[in-house]
Amino acid sequence: MAATAVAFAAVGVGGLAGPALLIGIGVVAPALAAGLLWKVVRTAGLMSLPLGISALLVNLFLYPGATDALFSIGPLTATVEGLRFASEILLRILAITGAITLFYLTTAPSALVIDLERRGISSRVAFVVLASVETVPAMVERATVITAAQRARGLDTEGSVVRRIRGVVPLAGPVLLGSIAEVEERSTALESRGFTHPGRRTLLWWPGDSGRQAVARWSMVVAVPLLVVARAVGWLGWLG
């Protein structure tokens, strides 16, 4: 539902306190359905924190032309208008981060890549993307063993900064050299399994795409410009 997430984020930006409603429909509801509500809330919340806090503080105290005061801290005065504006911004941020988090948590990289491959990207490119995701844990594991082996030979990784810097070559060296050697062996194995065969490869499975999903997707995409226009023309004033 990548398209969903993207469309939703766009809508989130276009609306007002309407975003709250959209968050409810587009983020909270699907998250509940997927059993991921807490994860989405936590991750999106953490992601939004830095930007959210600064937006809140800036707008709460420094909103230009505000008159309705709430309270004061020293020379700074918090205003109602400022609070309102800050809330709007916060909601938009949450809409975006919520949508992104939902997408990230519900989509397996392989599903995404295979879907793209089905829709036309080259098998080779698809492979490279998928393989790169897999390489990270492998490299981490490799680096862990190398560090252990060098420490067993007296390399001090618990000492001063200078000592640790001296440890870079014995640590990075084998990671690189070994990875290169391994890549060679891997590519040989891949080639012997027909990897360089010209043409498209057969896909065993791809993410299902029901009629309903397609409808939901497209209606959201269409809704974006509609909502933006509606807002500009003033029809959505009742949302506040």
Partner: protein, 270 residues
């Protein structure tokens, strides 16, 4: 020469709930030649990494001559316990064989004549004396493994631990490893090796420790660990006794776990 001891050591890896070591108690005296056997996943690698502090017990105690290993950093423990890893390519970084072998002793503070002597002795012990200026990657995989062994030998630690020293070695390589074990033993060093090669284990070590599911399930000289009475224990950890033991059992000669015992028994019967 220190005595190594593990008391009720339990180790649980952070990520899982699996007890890689489930209460291991072991005492290894100075000068022993110990083989550690067991199927993959039985805890052998986890155990040896506790000996030099790379892993710390979740509970229980590891000590070196009575001193708690938990109080010492890995770099300090490396003076007493040298551990040779299984994959030389996850260690080699220098441009020459000599530079690679120098790394360990240099870290321990060896200098000048002492350093040169340590490197030369180690290279001679593994048969790479003529290759001191060769790039390690110009050596074949099996000789790189011997290089990794030399790099730890040169540290002259009282305890030498080897992880699968004979895998991938041809006959000459295995003979070299045997020579290293003999040389270390003659110098009074303790030798511990993880191995899958039952023939090698039966003939090169005084003591065999069998691991299964994180516990020590067998411990004794090869003659008793490979005796018929222990086969059920061995098979529970998916191991087979060496050929001499199996042939002797088939011939009804009683327990003949080593080559010599089989031959003696055969000659006795006619």
């Amino acid at each position: 020469m220190p005595e190594l001891a593990m008391e009720s050591v339990v180790h649980v890896y952070e990520r899982g709930s699996v007890r890689a070591l489930d209460g291991v108690s072991l005492r290894i005296s100075a000068g022993e030649r110990v083989a550690l056997i067991g199927q993959n996943g039985s805890g052998k690698t986890t155990l040896v990494r506790h000996l030099n502090g790379l892993l710390r017990p979740t509970s229980g105690r590891v000590s070196l001559d009575g001193r708690d290993a938990a109080l010492m950093r890995v770099a300090q423990l490396a003076r007493s316990v040298g551990l040779v890893f299984q994959d030389p390519d996850r260690q080699i970084f220098a441009g020459s064989v000599a530079a690679e072998v120098e790394f360990g002793p240099r870290n321990l503070g060896f200098r000048d004549a002492e350093l040169r002597g340590a490197v030369d002795d180690a290279l001679a012990a593994v048969g790479l004396a003529a290759e001191s200026r060769t790039n390690p990657y110009d050596l074949g995989a099996s000789r790189r493994k011997l290089l990794a062994l030399a790099s730890v030998l040169a540290m002259r630690t009282p305890v030498l631990v080897m992880d699968e020293p004979t895998t991938g070695q041809d006959q000459r390589g295995v003979a070299t490893v045997r020579g290293v074990i003999e040389g270390a033993h003659a110098a009074g060093r303790t030798v511990i090796a993880i191995s899958h090669d039952m023939e090698f284990v039966a003939s090169a070590f005084d003591r065999v420790v069998v691991m299964g599911a994180g516990r020590v399930v067998g411990d004794g000289p090869p003659a008793s660990v490979f005796a018929a009475a222990s086969w059920e224990m061995l098979r529970s950890t998916y191991l087979e006794p060496p050929m001499a033991a199996r042939a002797g059992e088939r011939l009804g000669l009683g327990s003949t776990p080593t080559d010599d015992s089989l031959i003696s028994a055969l000659v006795r019967t006619g």
